[in-house]
C-alpha cells in the first residue's frame, strides 16, 4: 500500500503534464480550425467520456501489447510490450483524460475569440508570441480547470488501469486498485482509510485551486 501512494501521484502528475503539452495545442486547433475534420477529431477525443473504461483498456491492451500494431515500433525502441507497465499506464491515462483537458481549454479559447489574437498580430507579435503572451494568459482559467479535472480523473481511474496495467505492486498497482483489493480481501478499515484519504485530498486540491482563481479574478477586477 505505501508504494501505491507515490506511484498514483506520479502517474497523475506525469499524465497531467503530458496532457498540458498535448491537450492545449489540440484545443487551439479545434477552437480555430474550420472544416469537417474539426468535429470528427473532437468526437474521437470525447470518446473516452462515453466508452466504458474497460472497453478503452481492452483496445489499449491490444494496441500496446506484444502482438499489437505498434509492436514493430516498440521493438525498435527495444521493448517487447507496454502492457502491464507504468509507461503503458501513462499512455492509457493520457488517452482517458484527454477530453477532460481539451474540453475546458477549447471552450476558453472559443470564448476569447479571434479579437485579441488579431490585435496582437497587428502589434508586431509573431503567432507563437501572440499565443504564449496573449492567448494562454487569457485562457488560464480554462487551462487550470482542465489540469485539475485531468489530475483528479487520473487519480480515480480504475477500469482502464485494471485492463491495461493489472495490479503489479510498485509498478502498476495504483490506489484505486489497492482499495478494490482491500475490499476483495475484506480489509475494510484499510479500504476505508484510503478512500477517505482520496476524497479529502481531491476536495483539498479543488478547493485550493478554486480559491486561487477567485483571488486572481478579484485582483484583476
Amino acid at each position: 500500500m505505501p508504494a501505491a501512494i507515490p506511484l498514483t501521484l506520479e502517474l497523475a502528475g506525469l499524465s497531467t503534464a503530458l496532457l498540458l503539452l498535448l491537450g492545449v495545442p489540440l484545443a487551439w486547433g479545434l477552437a480555430r480550425g474550420r472544416g469537417w475534420w474539426v468535429e470528427a477529431l473532437g468526437a474521437v477525443i470525447a470518446l473516452p467520456l462515453v466508452l466504458p473504461p474497460t472497453v478503452l483498456g481492452f483496445y489499449l491492451l491490444i494496441l500496446l501489447g506484444p502482438h499489437g500494431p505498434l509492436a514493430p515500433l516498440l521493438a525498435l525502441a527495444g521493448l517487447h510490450t507496454l502492457a502491464f507497465s507504468f509507461t503503458g499506464l501513462v499512455i492509457g491515462s493520457v488517452v482517458c483524460s484527454l477530453p477532460f483537458m481539451v474540453q475546458p481549454v477549447r471552450s476558453a479559447f472559443a470564448a476569447i475569440g479571434s479579437a485579441p489574437w488579431e490585435a496582437a498580430l497587428t502589434l508586431r507579435a509573431a503567432p507563437w508570441d501572440a499565443f504564449v503572451f496573449v492567448i494562454l494568459p487569457l485562457a488560464r482559467g480554462g487551462i487550470v480547470t482542465g489540469a485539475i479535472l485531468s489530475f483528479a480523473h487520473t487519480l480515480g481511474e480504475f477500469g482502464m488501469v485494471l485492463m491495461l496495467g493489472g495490479d503489479i505492486p510498485g509498478k502498476t498497482e495504483v490506489l484505486s486498485i489497492v482499495i478494490f483489493n482491500d475490499v476483495e480481501t475484506l480489509r475494510w478499515p484499510e479500504a476505508g482509510a484510503l478512500a477517505a484519504g482520496m476524497a479529502v485530498f481531491s476536495f483539498g486540491v479543488i478547493l485550493v485551486t478554486l480559491r486561487a482563481e477567485a483571488r486572481m479574478a478579484r485582483l484583476r477586477a
Binding site: L121, T122, L123, P127, V134
Partner: protein, 340 residues
C-alpha cells in the same frame, strides 16, 4: 480594384455598410489575404504575387471598433506591448503618446475598469507605440457615445500629424469623415472605389452624391488671422475666403479646420447690410443640385474654394436664381462654433 492613397494625412474610406471597407482594411493589415492583390506601402511590398508579409512583419498600427485591450495586462503593459516588439530605437516614445492622449491617470489601471472612450484612447496609443508607418482605423468611434467620440476625433487628427503617421480611417458616418479626413476614398457596394480625391473637392463635386445630400457639408482649411478680444471672435482666411468665427483658434497663422453645413449657408441677391450675419461672401453659382424634396443644394465658387448652400426650392425660384449667377453667400458665424 486599384487605387493609390497619399502617404501623409488622413484618408477617409467611406461607403455604405457592407460595401467591403473593413475587408479592404483587413487586407491592408494582412489579417486577410486577397488572392492576386498587390499592395505597397511607402515603396515597401506588403503583398505582390507570391509575396505576402504577415501582419506582424508590417509596420502598421490598427485600431478596431472595439478597443481589444488585453484584459490580463494593465494599461501601461498594453501600451508597451507593441513598443517592446518593434525593432530599432522607437521614433514614437511612450512619454510623448501618454502626453498627447492624456493617458497618465490610466496607466496603472486594468482595462476592465475603463470607460469606452478611455479604452479607445489607450488602443490608439498602443497602436501608435508599435511604431507604425501606417495607422489603420476601423470605425474606432462607432461604439462610443457622441460626446466621447467628439473628444477623440480631434486628438486623432492631432496625433497623426504630431507623429507624422498617415492613417486610413474607415467609417460609414460622413460627419466623422468630414471632421477628420484630408483625402477621401468613396467605396460602392461590391468593393469598387467610386471616387477619390481631396476631401473638400469631393464633398462639393456636383457629380458625386455628397453635394446633393440634405445634410451636406463642406470642409474649409483656413488660417487664423486676428482675434477680437472684445467680441471673442477670430478672423480666419485662406483660398480667397475670409470668415469670422466665434472663439479663440490659436495665434495668427494657426491652422483652422471648419466644417460648414450647407443648411447654415443662406443666399442673398444683393450685399446684405442690415442682417445679423457677419459673413457675406460674393459667390458664383456653379450648379444647382435638385433632389426629391423641398431643398436645392447650390455649389458656389468663392475665391479659389467652393461652398455648399442648401435653400428651399421655393426661394430658389422666387429669387430667380440660375447657374452662373452672382449672389452673396451668408454663413452664420455661430454655426461655425463647433470645433473639429
Amino acid at each position: 480594384m486599384a487605387f493609390e492613397a497619399p502617404s501623409a494625412g488622413i484618408t477617409g474610406l467611406f461607403g455604405p455598410s457592407g460595401c467591403g471597407k473593413t475587408t479592404l482594411l483587413r487586407c491592408l493589415a494582412g489579417l486577410l489575404r486577397l488572392p492576386g492583390a498587390a499592395l505597397r506601402v511607402d515603396g515597401e511590398i506588403w503583398q505582390e504575387g507570391p509575396i505576402f508579409l504577415p501582419p506582424h512583419r508590417r509596420a502598421l498600427g490598427m485600431v478596431f471598433q472595439e478597443a481589444r485591450l488585453f484584459a490580463h495586462l494593465s494599461v501601461r503593459e498594453n501600451l508597451r506591448f507593441g513598443l517592446r516588439r518593434a525593432k530599432g530605437a522607437p521614433r514614437i516614445t511612450d512619454a510623448a503618446v501618454i502626453d498627447a492622449l492624456g493617458l497618465e491617470p490610466l496607466l496603472a489601471r486594468a482595462p476592465a475598469g475603463l470607460s469606452g472612450g478611455e479604452r479607445q484612447r489607450v488602443a490608439i496609443g498602443r497602436a501608435l507605440l508599435a511604431q507604425p508607418r501606417l495607422l489603420l482605423l476601423d470605425e474606432p468611434l462607432a461604439a462610443l457615445d457622441r460626446e466621447a467620440a467628439q473628444q477623440i476625433l480631434p486628438r486623432l487628427r492631432e496625433v497623426s500629424r504630431l507623429f507624422a503617421v498617415p492613417a486610413v480611417y474607415v467609417s460609414h458616418d460622413l460627419a466623422e469623415i468630414e471632421q477628420i479626413a484630408d483625402y477621401l476614398l468613396l467605396m460602392r457596394p461590391g468593393g469598387r472605389i467610386a471616387a477619390r480625391g481631396e476631401l473638400g473637392a469631393l464633398l462639393t463635386d456636383p457629380a458625386l452624391p455628397f453635394a446633393a445630400r440634405r445634410d451636406a457639408a463642406m470642409v474649409l482649411e483656413l488660417r487664423a488671422q486676428a482675434y477680437d478680444e472684445i467680441y471673442d471672435l477670430t478672423t480666419c482666411a485662406g483660398a480667397g475666403v475670409a470668415l469670422t468665427v466665434p472663439g479663440w483658434h490659436g495665434p495668427a497663422g494657426a491652422a483652422v479646420r471648419l466644417r460648414v453645413r450647407a443648411s447654415d449657408v443662406s443666399i442673398a441677391k444683393t450685399e446684405p447690410w442690415d442682417s445679423s450675419i457677419l459673413n457675406a461672401l460674393p459667390a458664383r453659382i456653379l450648379s444647382a443640385e435638385t433632389a426629391a424634396g423641398p431643398h436645392v443644394n447650390l455649389v458656389l465658387a468663392v475665391g479659389q474654394t467652393r461652398l455648399l448652400s442648401s435653400i428651399t426650392r421655393k426661394s430658389f425660384d422666387s429669387l430667380g436664381l440660375a447657374v452662373g449667377g452672382m449672389v452673396y453667400a451668408q454663413v452664420k458665424a455661430m454655426a461655425l462654433a463647433a470645433p473639429g
